[in-house]
Point group: C2
Chain length 200, copies 2
Amino acid sequence: MPAPLGRVVEMLSTLPGVGPKTAMRLGLNLLSRPASETVALADALKLLHEQVGFCDICGCFAEKGLCQQCDDPAREGDTVCIVEQPVDVLMMERGHNYRGHYHVLHGRLSPVDGVGPEELNLAALDRRVEAGIKELILATSATVDGEATAHYIARRYRDAGVRISRIARGVPEGGELEYLDEHTLSRALDQRISWDNGSI
Amino acid sequence: MPAPLGRVVEMLSTLPGVGPKTAMRLGLNLLSRPASETVALADALKLLHEQVGFCDICGCFAEKGLCQQCDDPAREGDTVCIVEQPVDVLMMERGHNYRGHYHVLHGRLSPVDGVGPEELNLAALDRRVEAGIKELILATSATVDGEATAHYIARRYRDAGVRISRIARGVPEGGELEYLDEHTLSRALDQRISWDNGSI
């Protein structure tokens, strides 16, 4: 294999879900398509880190100092949804029903990996809470570590005079009971809500 | 999503086997790893088309004028294995038992897609056959189009005083009869070879 192709294949194989065979197929595809397309991809990759950074306020992806959400005066600044990663903000925004701000932790508590509160983006959250926030929505993941992180944050701000909530857990949309795990089903039963005609 | 990330994701999703979701995962990974790694991939991609071209003789990948095989005086120049794509040469070379040269067609006959003999790298092969070759090994794929291409080339050079052969077809290594299609099995039976103790 020519060395320049080998280098591309080797680097592509470090991407998540891309093994040596897939990397080879991608490398050959990039070599066989018009040179201009491959150069365009290279240019876009070069600009990625140059142009995309993190929001000064919430830690989400931002092209300038502030992200789209923090820069939007129409959004409710006194409601802050706490997520683990910048990508989680993109997922939340797909729903179109949240109009508040975000705060990205850039991780979750994980004693095994040596991630404690100091490793998370919490000092900035302290300042936001002090400056005045009505509600903190805990939207960390529904994993053991995500749950521990939610508990930690709820305790950290319990006397800060802020309402704290956790996103609901239960049967996902389209979920069939037959294929759900027992923990999800058991929690969905525990946290059942009254059938109020018209509201659900 | 920040526009620079959107551009990378859009371009990645044009790669084979990469859908919008995978492209998103790859794009986010490239954004979250150290900038130097993403820039290194961009640099390697820029050099790909600049440094890798096709061999002047056989049409395989080559960094300079000639590919590794055509540039190797130890290989048998009077045996030429005909393949469809440059990647097929890489696959053949994995076997380590072929010591001849190659000729890459850069395609195969496909009337449906408007690919006729003029679209294939055959004029160069004519010149190689005229200059003197002992054997042409047809290693086009075992598909309808690959088979048609092999037939066409065999007819094209039938009076050129060159031995023409086709790579064997049959049960692949490790193949269990239970899972083989009937065409492969039927051909393996038709083309059975005598059990000569010691030779097989």
